[in-house]
Amino acid sequence: MKTLICLSLCCSLFSGCSFKNVKPWEKESLAKPIMQFGGIHAAVSKYESHVYFSKEAARGGAGVGGGGCGCN
């Protein structure tokens, strides 16, 4: 039920809002390295993910790439 509520919330975020139609020449700010969802250092993000994977029970949500490990 909680999952359904969350999914509904996400759908409503996109269906109920209007977004500006940003033209390609208006995307200079979005192209900055500091504007990337994964942060400015991919390797550091991977290290962090690995630490959290080995110390916490929750997983997922950061993409489907990457391998597994024993991490005990």
């Binding site: 975020l13 977004f19 390609p24 900055k32 991919a42 290290y47 997922g60 949500g61 489907v64 391998g67």
Partner: protein
Amino acid sequence: MQLNRLSLITILALSTHASLHAENYVTVDFLQYNENDNRVAVSAPSVSAAYDIGTDFSVRADFVNDAITGATPVWQSDALTDGGSGASGRVVNNTGDYVYKNQSFNDVRNAWSIGATRRFENRDELNVGINYSRESDYDSKSISLDYMHYTDASHNRSINFGISGAFDEILVKSIANGGKYRDDDDDKSYYKDDDYDSESGASQKETSNTINLQLGVNQILNETSSLKVDAFAVLSAGYLTNPHQRVVRNYNSAFQSLGDESRPDKRTAYGVALKHIVLLGDSVSLNSNYRYYTDDWQINSHTLEENAYYEASKNLTLGAGVRYYTQTAASFYNASKEHFTDEIYASSDQRLSQFNALTYKGSVDYKISDNLSYNLGAEFYEQSTGLKATMITTGAKYHF
């Protein structure tokens, strides 16, 4: 100048907001991770490289080596030996009781991954990846595939679907077998032959498989902000028990014993992840993340993370962040040695307990030249279980 401006516009028009930084590079990074109380220490150098083949293809490769030493807390007999190394030492004191204390170990993990991206005429992207990770008692192979599709001509909204499959092999060092491995496949010489026990059969090589699914939407909100929403599912089956963890059963009875922990052989998890990024002024970005996770082991989790980056100058970028994590305990978890009797599933692994965690972090990125940059980062991680850890990262990136 005008040409540069036109080039930038052309690049932006062709690019996606999710992959604007496709580039040729080589990075070398190093992680030093240390836990308090002489627990785990990890030194992990890594190398990554990516190369664009024209505008429609790119390839990438990564390698990381983890050298792990230290100890992890597990239930153990309180017997003391003069040799100090378990079965080989002479027992000098044994009250028959159990203590939850650190057990020493060391291991080396090598992980490789390679991937390729194909961009289509409308700039949709198909990514494929292969990963391989090997430890002395754990082998993991995985393959991933994800597709990103633009839903509008201005490339302001994209949807993406990803799927991966991981296929793991685990060598189980069962306490019922005197702590020896059994390797069912003699050809795999990397398994520890010294620990191989072909007669008892009490220990075994196990397997587990995990399917990871993710469906998401990436929406540019305006010239300075974007939103990303993903729903995900993680479906695991097979041997999901931690082969290093123990539980005490029937404590204070004639049948009290120390045995292997046991977890269900299936785990189904779902969740939602939201990411928002916004540029404040010309030089500060705020990256806000939230993840909700739930699974059928009754673990529910919330993760909140806020990262900020500041372009202090053309060459210097500073970063700071904080992360809050909380989870409920698995239904079969209990920390007490007096709790378990004959339950099918039982674990005292702290990672399945109820706890909160906080991470504080900071970073410095310095561009030495147009092609070369250097970064240094520090993180402090603290759990309500008492675990504390520091993480120092450093690396260099060369563009070409």
